[in-house]
């Protein structure tokens, strides 16, 4: 992927993140996700309906990588079933950890396909996934 395109996508999702807004609707399940080693701290709000992810919103303070990764993740997960969402998450984690993954499935998420080169930022890209996976696994049970 072209460096400039990659940067542009990440910066766009950082400066104009999608679905970053306050949620007061009690039907949304809230989960906090933060990195022990850094200062990122995000709240995710997930609305499930008939086994599908109807909506996700987020709030909080985080770095460019975490914020953009959250924005991209949410965009890609809305509308998915739990199984589909977990498949997406597994693929994303595999990419970040330099394991085999399905590029097609990740859509814009592939902008982090070289994040492994900066090991201290891997956790930033993965941050929203930790929170969302927790919620989805709970629902699955």
């Amino acid at each position: 992927m072209d460096e400039n395109v990659r940067r542009e996508i990440i910066l766009d999702h950082y400066q104009n993140p999608k679905n970053r807004e306050a949620v007061f609707d009690e039907r949304y399940k809230k989960v906090n996700t933060n990195n022990e080693s850094c200062i990122d701290n995000l709240d995710l709000y997930i609305l499930m309906e008939e086994g599908k992810i109807k909506d996700i919103k987020f709030q909080g303070e985080a770095c460019a990588i975490s914020t953009s990764s959250t924005s991209i993740m949410i965009t890609n997960l809305i509308g998915k079933t739990i199984a589909e969402a977990l498949e997406y998450i597994e693929n994303f984690k595999a990419m970040v950890n330099e394991e085999p993954y399905d590029e097609e499935l990740l859509k814009e998420g592939i902008v982090y396909n070289e994040i492994y080169k900066q090991s201290n930022r891997k956790t930033c890209a993965l941050l929203p996934y930790v929170g969302i996976e927790k919620v989805l696994r709970d629902y699955q049970e």
Binding site: R7, I39, E61, A62, C63, A64, T67
Partner: protein
């Protein structure tokens, strides 16, 4: 100044994270090695020559500390693992046995976690109340605000001499004078001040003080708890074991040693304490007043330049210490720190352990530049140049 004394500076780095820890001069590193290579025995135990040498060196540091902070006697100097341990020992070893329900401890919203959480713990165990001295528009503590915050229940005022985000030097002497007139104890968290300004515990008349060696060119894992002797006598040892007991036969017959040994159980960080002595000698040789002046001028140079950058929000424009906290408009502090790291500039991003401060300044995270005497105007020029170009930051921070 004195850059040649610091092996770390032989690398191509600009170190602006002195509030977290300072670099160590060669003499301190050498002294650590000297202990392990030349007389690596335990302290206060043996009857052979090298054990005697250890005792001499170890106790020599105690004298150097006493002199450095102008304490009255050697018994007032307790070696700890660091500032945090000292603050906990003061709260849990002394005030836990003294304070009762509804007694009040006054702190501020800009204190470090180690001057907050030990008191929160007493709020839970003893039912004490935590009060906050309001900060003024510059986020400073003023004597007037201290007077206003004191209630008939106030028993303790616990403050940093210099805070680690705002960097203000508090008027401790005036506060102590007023507090003592009202029978209030004063505890000083000197972690951020000890290596930067002169400390005279008798002149300040504080009751307890805690600080770390590693923030004053000394090794990590060593700190000092200072207390007025008559108060330290009543500090309950929280760590029991070897080195602190006089004798014991059964649970009814346990006798502790006198100060300072009573509060230094177990084999201490001998190498650290001995090397710490070297750090004190090193700072004394430069002179604390000279260090404070140099830092003050350097900070002014830095702030004067930062003010000119329109996309920066500076949290603490005025302050007499070497700490400057700021944000680049619209960019998360950590991203700026990553960007500067690409140019080998070390700064801190975050809340700096002052997590209740955000309510006061309205900002959770900042970039913090904390200076020391080995920093230079050339280093500041480099920082300023890198911060001046916001597009460059956005382009290179990822």
């Amino acid at each position: 100044m004195n850059r040649e004394d610091f092996p770390m500076l032989e690398q191509d780095i600009v170190y602006f994270d002195n509030g977290a820890t300072t670099l160590k001069p060669k003499c301190v590193i050498d002294k650590t090695v000297e202990y392990y290579e030349k007389y690596g025995a335990s302290a206060h135990r043996g009857d052979y020559d090298i054990a005697y040498k250890v005792d001499q060196e170890y106790e020599n540091t105690r004298e150097l500390v006493r002199d450095f902070i102008h304490a009255k006697s050697l018994e007032e100097i307790i070696f700890t693992a660091g500032s945090t341990e000292g603050m906990n020992l003061i709260a849990s070893g002394f005030f836990k046995n003294l304070l009762e329900e509804n007694d009040e401890v006054l702190i501020t919203k800009s204190e470090h976690a180690s001057n907050v959480l030990p008191w929160f713990s007493l709020a839970n165990t003893n039912g004490i109340k935590i009060g906050y001295i309001p900060l003024d528009d510059n986020h400073y503590v003023t004597l007037e605000n201290v007077k206003k915050a004191i209630t008939p229940n106030t028993k303790v005022i616990s403050l940093a001499y210099i805070t680690n985000v705002i960097g203000d030097i508090r008027p401790i002497k005036e506060i102590t004078e007023y507090a003592h007139q009202h029978n209030i104890f004063v505890v000083l968290d000197a972690a951020q001040s000890i290596g930067h300004i002169k400390t005279n515990v008798q002149d300040l008349d504080i009751d307890f003080m805690s600080f770390s060696a590693h923030k004053m060119c000394g090794p990590t894992g060593v700190g000092v708890l200072y207390g007025k002797k008559e108060l330290l006598e009543n500090v309950e040892p929280l760590i029991l074991g070897g080195g602190m007991n006089e004798s014991f036969d059964n649970e009814q017959e346990v006798y502790y040693k006198e100060l300072p040994a009573r509060l230094e159980a177990g084999t201490p960080n001998i190498a650290g304490v001995i090397a710490f002595g070297e750090a004190i000698k090193y700072l004394d040789a430069i002179g604390m007043e000279k260090i404070a002046d140099y830092e003050k001028n350097l900070r002014k140079y830095l702030v004067d330049k930062l003010i000119m950058i329109p996309h920066l929000d500076i949290i603490n424009l005025e302050s007499d210490s070497g700490i400057v906290s700021f944000n680049v408009n619209g960019i998360f502090s950590q991203d700026v720190a990553y960007y500067l790291n690409k140019y080998n500039i070390c700064v801190r991003a975050g809340s700096h352990c002052a997590k209740i401060l955000k309510k006061e300044v309205g900002v959770t995270n900042t970039i913090r530049v904390s200076l020391y005497f080995y920093n230079t105007v050339e280093e500041i020029d480099m920082l300023v140049e890198l911060l001046s170009d916001k597009d460059k930051i956005l382009k290179e921070m990822l």
